[in-house]
Every structure is written in C-alpha cells, then in structure tokens.
Symmetry: C2
Subunit: 648 residues, 2 copies
Amino acid sequence: MIEKIQFPHAAPLQDIQLTNGFWAERQATNREKTIPSIYSFLESTGRLAAFDLSKDQQPPKFHKVVRMFFDSDSGKWLEAVGYSLMTHPDPALEHLADGLIDRMEKAQQPDGYLNTYFTVMETEYRWRNLRDWHEMYNAGHLIEGAVAYYQATGKRKVLDIFVRFADLIDSLFGPEDGKKRGYPGHPELELAMVKLYHATREPRYLKLAQFFIDERGQQPHYFDLESAERGEDPADFWAQSYHYCQAHAPLREQTEATGHAVRACYLYAGLVDVALETGDPSLLETARRLWDDLIGHQMYINGGLGPAQSNEGFTFAYDLPNETAYAETCAAIALVLYAQRMFHLDPDARYIDVMERALYNGILSGVSYDGTHFFYANPLAAYPKVSPDDPWSAIKTDPHYRRQEWFYCPCCPPNVARLVASIGAYFYGISGDTVYVNLYDRNRARIDIHGKMAEFEQKTSYPWDGDIEIEILSGEPVEYELALRIPGWCRQFDVRVNGDPISAEPQRGYVRIRRRWIGGDRVRLSLAMPVERMAPHPMIRQDAGCVALQRGPVLYCIEGTDNGEQLANVILPPDSQLSVVYDASLFGGIPVITADALRVGPSNWANGLYQPQAVLDYARTSTALRAIPYSLWANRAPGEMRVWIRES
Amino acid sequence: MIEKIQFPHAAPLQDIQLTNGFWAERQATNREKTIPSIYSFLESTGRLAAFDLSKDQQPPKFHKVVRMFFDSDSGKWLEAVGYSLMTHPDPALEHLADGLIDRMEKAQQPDGYLNTYFTVMETEYRWRNLRDWHEMYNAGHLIEGAVAYYQATGKRKVLDIFVRFADLIDSLFGPEDGKKRGYPGHPELELAMVKLYHATREPRYLKLAQFFIDERGQQPHYFDLESAERGEDPADFWAQSYHYCQAHAPLREQTEATGHAVRACYLYAGLVDVALETGDPSLLETARRLWDDLIGHQMYINGGLGPAQSNEGFTFAYDLPNETAYAETCAAIALVLYAQRMFHLDPDARYIDVMERALYNGILSGVSYDGTHFFYANPLAAYPKVSPDDPWSAIKTDPHYRRQEWFYCPCCPPNVARLVASIGAYFYGISGDTVYVNLYDRNRARIDIHGKMAEFEQKTSYPWDGDIEIEILSGEPVEYELALRIPGWCRQFDVRVNGDPISAEPQRGYVRIRRRWIGGDRVRLSLAMPVERMAPHPMIRQDAGCVALQRGPVLYCIEGTDNGEQLANVILPPDSQLSVVYDASLFGGIPVITADALRVGPSNWANGLYQPQAVLDYARTSTALRAIPYSLWANRAPGEMRVWIRES
C-alpha cells in the first residue's frame, strides 16, 4: 500500500482570495447573477416546494424522469452557496439557504430517507431501480451541498440531516449480509460519501464509497437482479447496454471511457477519491488507464466530453463531430473534478493542463458573460437550425442555438455555479512543504506549511497574458518549495527569482524552487503565449484539413457576426500571419486574433446543387478573419461559429 | 383548364422487354432473389398470418407503431409480383399471390374494412387517428398492389376486395355532409386512389384523392379535431409540428418540402396525379414550386432525400450531412414516382435527370448486388461505428453499417422490389405521336401510336457507356417523333440517323426526330461520358473543399477496401488525371475510376489529440485512388466509404 502522505491535497478555498482578475470577475457575476437566478428558477419550477409535499400531494407537472432528480438541483445550489459564503459572507444568501435547509429537514422521513419524488409519489418504489431512478444521485448532490454549507458556516443542522440519510443508505447497501449489493446508476454518491467521510471522519462512509467502486459491474449483476425483481427483462434496458452507466464490467477491468459522460467522470472522480484514501494500486492503475483513454481519444479541444446526444456521452475513439458535439457543460465540470483528483493521486501537470482546458473553454462557454443564460451542449461549430441537444431543432422558430435561462433538465446551471464559486480551490496543491501553483490569476493565498503561513500574491493578466509575478507577502520567513506549473501549451518560458534566472527544467510539468521565502521576494514567470495553430489528431476525420487557434489556455473561434456567413468557405492559409489585437470594447477588454484569410467558391454558380467543376470559375477573395475566445461565443448577434478553420 | 391530352403518359410496362442489359440483370436478381426473400420474411414475421387473425386473437409481438403498418408490406409485395408477372409470367409466384389474396379476402370485414391491426386489436379505434395510425397508408399500398396484380393477371378478385374497401373509405371521408374531413397522416392513398380510378374509371376515387389534396392543412385542422376527440391535446403531437406530415398549411400555400421525406414525395406524386386529371393550374404551380425547392435545396447527389434520422426527413436548405445522411431508400423511390409524374405534367428532361440520378445511385444502393440485403438509410460516407439510422450504433458489436436481410420496420425491401420490377415503365413517355426516350438500356419496345405499332430496340451498354443505338424493327412504316433525352450530365453529344448527323439543339432536354420510321432505320446517339468532378453548391457546408466523381449518371465513391483507412486524409489534387478502367472481376464487370492521389498527415505525431502545428512535420505520400459506383458500395469487405473527396 502506498503511504497516504504522498498525495497532495488542494489548498482550502477559504485561504485563497481572488483579487480583481479574470476569475474574480466571473465569480462576482456568479455571485450576483447566477446564484440568485438559479434560486428563482428552483422556486418557480416547484423544486423548493417539492420539499413541502406529503405523500400523494399533487406534484408539479414534470416528466417522471426529470421530476426524479429535482433534489439534485437544490443540492448543487446549496453547494454553490456554501462555496460562495466561504469567501464572500452574505447574510441574506445564508438566510435563503437556511430556509431551504428547514424545508429539507421537514421533508426527511423518520428513517432518514429524503427524496421529494419517492416520498410523494410511488412511495413503494424506493430503492427499487438504482439503475435509472436517481435516488443515490440526488443523495450525493444533497450531501455535497450539506458538506459545503457546513464547512462554510459551521452550522451542523444540514450536515446532521444528511448524516441521517447517509446512515440509512449505509444500512441498506453494502457487502454485509442482509444488505443489498446495489450502487448508483448515475454515479455521484461515491465522491459525496468520501466528502462526508472527510467532514465527519466516519469510516463507514468511506467504506460504502469503496463498496460502490468495488461492486460496480460485478456478477451477478445488480441491475439485472433488480430488473427481475421489478418483473422486467434486463435486456429491455432502454439504454441497451450497461456501458451507458459504466457498469458493463468491474471497474478494474474497464479500459475505455464509455456511456454517459457525466456519469463516467463523476464515477472516475469517486474512484480516485477512494484510491487516495486506500492507496489501492489497482485503482490508481484503473484511474490512469481510463484517463489516458479519455484524454488520448475522446476529448474535444474545448475540454468537452461526449459527442453524442443519444446517450449524452461517448461514442468511440477520435469521433468528435463539431456541430453536433454534445459536450455537456456538466461533463466538462466532471472532467475538472476528475483531473484535480488525478493530480492528487499522481502529481503531474498534464492533469492540470486538461483541467485548465476545460475551465477556460468548455465550461465557461456554458454560461453567458452576464451569468444568466446557459448552454447544456457546447458544440465546436454552430450553424443556424442546428442544435446539438435537440435533433428536432430544424423545425424550431428560432433558428439559432442560444443559451437559455433554464432547462427542463437543468443540471448544468447550478453545476456551473458551484464550480465557479469554488474555483479558488483549484489553484494550489499542497504536498508536505511543496506548494504546486496550478492556476495563474490574480489572488492572495495563505497556505499552512507545517504550521507556518506561506503568504503570497499572484499578479498577472492571465489568461490574456503570460507574465505572472508571485510576490511573497510580509510575514515570517518560511521555507517551502514553490512548484510552478509550466503549462503544456507553453513552448518557451522564463523563471526568475528576484531578477535572477532559474534554469531548472520542468519535472512532470513543474519548475521547483525551494528556498526560505521572505516578504518582498518576487518570482517572475514569463510564459510565451503566441497564437498557435492547433492541429487535430489525424484520426479525427471531422477536423481533417483544419486548424484551431489557441493562445495560452484560451481556445478561439470565428463567429458569423465578425466573419460573415458560410464559415465553411473561409480559409486561413498556412502562411497567413496571425495578430493579437486588444479590443477594449468586447467583454471588458479581450485580445482578439486577426489574420488575412480567403473566401473561396465558384463565382458563376448557376442552378442546382451539383455542377461539373469544369464549368465553374473559382474565386478566392481576401477577407479579414477575426477570432474571439471560444468561451465567449454566442454572447453577441447569433449566427454561425467555427473552432476548426479550413486551411486550404 | 388545360386540356388533358397535353399530358404525356408512360408506355405500359407490358410493352417494354428488357433484354440482357443493366436493368435486365437487376430485374432477374429481383425476381429470383428479392421477391422470394421478402415473401419468406412476410411469412416468418407474421405479416401473412396477420390476415388470418380474428378480433382479440394474440398478434405477433411487435411495437404498435410497426404492427400498424404490417399490411403495407404485403401490399407492396403483391404490387412487385404484379409488375413482375406482366413481363415474366410465373405460375408458382402467381399461385403464392393468389393465396395471399385469399387471406386478404377472409380478413375483410362485412363493411369492406381491411386492416389486420384494427380488426384484431383496438377495434374501437378505427379511423380515430389518421395522423399517426396508418390505416389510409396501408389501404393505399393494398390498393396499389391490387391494381398491379389485376392488370397483370386480369383476375378481378383482389380488385373487388379493394374496391369494397375504397368504397367504405369514400363513404366515410370527403367534403359531403355526414362525412369526416380527414386525410392520410402518411400520404399514399392519394396516388393509390388515382390508380384505382384508372383501373375502374370510377370517378369517386379520383374525387376522393382530390379531396385529400385540397383538404390537407385546412382549418379547422382535422388532426387537431381528431386529437381533441381522443381527449388529447394537439400540442402534444409527438412530431411537434404538422410540417412532419406536410399538413402545416394547405398544399397550395406550401413553399418548401418539409418533414418526413417519404410522406412528402408520395404526397407530391398524388398531387401531380390529381393535377394530371383535373388540369388545375394551381396544383401544377404547387407541384413545380415544391419540386424546385426539393431539387434546388434538399437533394443529395445520390438522389437521396431527407438528411435526418429524427424525422426521417428534411431539415433545411443545403443541410446535407454525409455520414448521418438518412436518405431512406423509400424516399428516393418516392422521388422517382414524383419525378415521372412531373415529367408527365411538364415534359422536360430535367425531371428525368433527377429520376435517373435516384435510380442508378440512391435506390440501387438500397439493395445488395445479390438482391437479398437492404439499406434503409443510404449515407454518402461511412465510418466504422457510425450508422445513419441508429444513433446508438456506436455500442453495437458489429462496427460496420451493412445491408440487412430485413428490418423491424421493413418498408424499404418491398419498395425496391416493386420499383425494380416496374423499371420498364419509366423508359418511355408517350404524348400523341411523340415517343420520349427517357432511359437508355437494352430493351425492345412496342408502342401504340394512334393504333399503329412503333417497334424498336435499344442496343447499348449504358450506363457504363454513352453509345446508344436504336434500331427500328420490322413492321409497317410508322410516322412518329422520337424525342431523345440528352441527359443533364452530358456536355457533348452526337445524334445520327442512318449515319447522317442531326444537328438539332435539345429542346427542354430532348432532341426530336420526326419521320416515317422503317424497319432497319438506325438512330445512333453518342453521349460523351467523361469522369466529371462534381462540385457541391457553396452553401453545402458539409462538402466544402470536396468533389464527387460522376461518370454519366453513375455516382462513384471510394471504399476502404480499395483505398485504405482514414479516407478523410486522402486528397485528390485538382490536376490529377482520372482514368476509367474496366474491371471484369467486379460485379459482372464494371468501369472503375483510378487516379493518382495523396495521403496527407503529420509524420511525427506524438501523444494527445491536439498539437501545435509548428511542431509537426507534414507529409504527402502518393496513393492510388480507386473509385467504384456508389450503388455497389458495401458489397465487399466492410469499412469506410466516401463520396465527397477532399481536393486539398
């Protein structure tokens, strides 16, 4: 067994103060717009009132499948509130959350059970369909919310509620005689149980998470057994295969990321959580194998996962269609959860590279710049009348794929809210007296190094600029190692301490500087941030002949509003110069990329859809290409968008 | 009103004898393999036995939606048999058909009703959901089968059965007081009623077809009314909009082909049938407008229609994805029905160009070369684990999209069978003493010109060669005009009569030669048939930067078995010479297209899915490109396929 001490952990959210930079701005929008907006929708759609209903009271009219995971939305909102309060106390918001917690308490059944669907409707069907009915998924999000709120406020009430619920679940499921060998159809409870273990130190919760990981996909298959108990033929499973919920084989035998992308990454994150506690090498190996498949074969360049709407998930290696990319916001968030845990398990900057890719691109694209509208799917190209999350979109009145205020299945908005509220917790990893600096942005950190406080401040305009200064703040001198991440996208960098160059080569992606740091010390990291033409793997047939523009961690795209219609006919020649221009008028000021490009096409097209090329005159006319950060697309006039741009 | 005499009609199937050419071979396969194979599946799946069931007897286990149109499959098979018997008498086959007709007779209810679903199950739901429940659709195919079989054999029994059924329908639906103003949700009965009118001269059938055309989409909307009568909210229509069934507006107000592609073209064909009988100029105008939209904006280069699986139909103009092209075989067949009728309404070769495109490409691709396996969807590109008709295909065991022996919804196989059996009826159009020669292939024709027989024989290797000889056969000298179609794909041609050049320019696509034809006269038509690089309309974003290869009417494609994997990385440079090589080893001997091409890609790809182009070395290696006729793809080793080939 590996010693636990080897694993780094995240610097606590409370200890990181974002100051006036990129994420501080997004977090302010999240606090002021997103979290209140979500609460009002939780209220108006009956999700809060659902906690007040008793058996057989008429619930809001929703399809059963959606109604069944009402509680997860409230849980995620509570979690977002908890993180927000940790860094930005807000008595009014806390009061709102306390009100929700009071309702939760009343909804809890005497045995600890808490689920606003099965308490009100189909009460005899509790725990009878773990595969589809989301009781454990809801429980997981409620527990995550409870832990976050407890840690923020110190109020035990909500923790106690969900400790009772967790105890009920633990009494029903597990390897022991008399318990059922069930596990979540939609993973989530695994990682939540580990969080609850951390909050309470009750080892039963960790053991239950471990059981869920160990038992998944074992024979006789639990989902077969419970189907048969319901009188159903397991072969009639609507999703056709347990690949959908990653239960087609025991986890340690799985070699590819399959099925529903959010389920997959929540599961893998939970798996790593268990590995971090137990040190089980077979789990570490499994986590790495699945990671390598995911990142090596199935990830979009925006960090999005899961190309298919049909299963909200994976199809096969290198299959990455652009307009129909599902790339659910929640899946990119789940990838961040998985990535950070992988870094803890195996401290290597490559995990953070992926985390950063998802954060700046496929997650931020999920929320409008003003914080009130959301994407569920995050396609890599857009064309009027095409919607990646609705196969019937071509008949819709509004031809444009736009962010929405809310969804019938609104899993993504509160997920973005909790992620942005907790972003500070992704900045630093701590291992002994090493501080891994994983993300760059303006912030002040106070980090406990064996009882002494390392205090420093990052000053930077990252991600728009690659210069970062870390100033050690006044305080007692403390010896520790700063491990500066050299991002995978960076091909040239320079590190100086108090003006003196450091010549160290990065080890596993980090330049390590150990010294006795004194207030006023300055570390200067310069990351060369030219625009890169990113090439797709030659097996990605959908991107053949195209390049994507990336600068630092930021993926760019071209939109119709800047570049006209029919973006498929825009060509960026290989020798065309790419310039970075600061545009103060856009989104508070951003660098845009400009280039001389071409529009190609026949100048004498007559009638019909197909003509012999021999009768056509082809023209190439100059056009000015203008690219903006991908995450900001669809915030202006709606229209086409493309990440992958033809080169010839 | 236009005089009826102006409209050409088809030369009857009985009068055209295919001799030893392209279609004769396909027809033999159809007769010997396809028709018997379909019969055995009709039997083994319970479709024949369904006629023997009485009320409440247990039917075969099928989903209601599929079970409801069992009868259409039997109707189409009977129609195929009828056409086959017209040119190839076969007592055993006729005996089989007579047996089916006996079963149909027994299944008929005293009031004339005949439907094996609503007679056995949900008997109280007859005619209560014309929108979805396919009673009129089934009736149409049964009537088409009955008319064909009656015309082939002279046996009235089956005609009488369906005259009784038609009379029942006519007594229930129509504009008169006491009748319901309903019409088919799935069009088909319109054109069938016109056929029944032709067979019986009973004007009520024509009037009913006319009513269906006139009433469709009128307010108050019949589908709204019948929904309300069933206690349903019309807004809950599963297909979300009456665009799906072309009932969103009165037909004369419709401007675009919408919804389910087969429904659309059956409807438009029926509309033209009514226009041909009534001469109503507003219908002619409607038919032309919808045609122009269809062909100008929504047709694949293989003649396929309907890119989307979700609605089995149209999305929007120029939206023609390749791998996921649904392009249902039935839709291309429906297009042929529509095209021939358009030609009758408005004799112009442009309609036949489209018909020919569908026949040689998107329809023949629907059946294997051996006649026993079928495609439902006919994509323009194939990649392992992608199936255009199954969004869940990526999890299937067999990674390849292949033809199947049968389908759960088997509309396409018997549709191909009836089309191929009746192909002779598409060769010639007759208008007064003008004979339009629309299709070229070896055949002998005997055509009645005002009581005198014009007899001639076509000798050609078309579509593999552009030389056609028409020899006037012995018989009395007859004056008539031969109107030779100059296909739209042909940019250079030569016509000679008995060796003398004819210099006439084509009028509406036809070179017209009027003379008193004498046995031994020879018309020689030479159509230059180089390989053409076909360019896509610049609005078709999915084909940008690509060309398709076409020679004569035959579309070509490249397959993995000839060209290796990752066809997206194969480039056919614009200056690359295209050669035609006869390959005697393939499919009885076909011309294949070869060219020098390139494979492009980085030679030093390391890890990951995306890399800066700056670190890559790009290589272009020579490769021999080999293309085969598109309709023959997937008859050899399974793998990738592409119609649209990158040029750079």
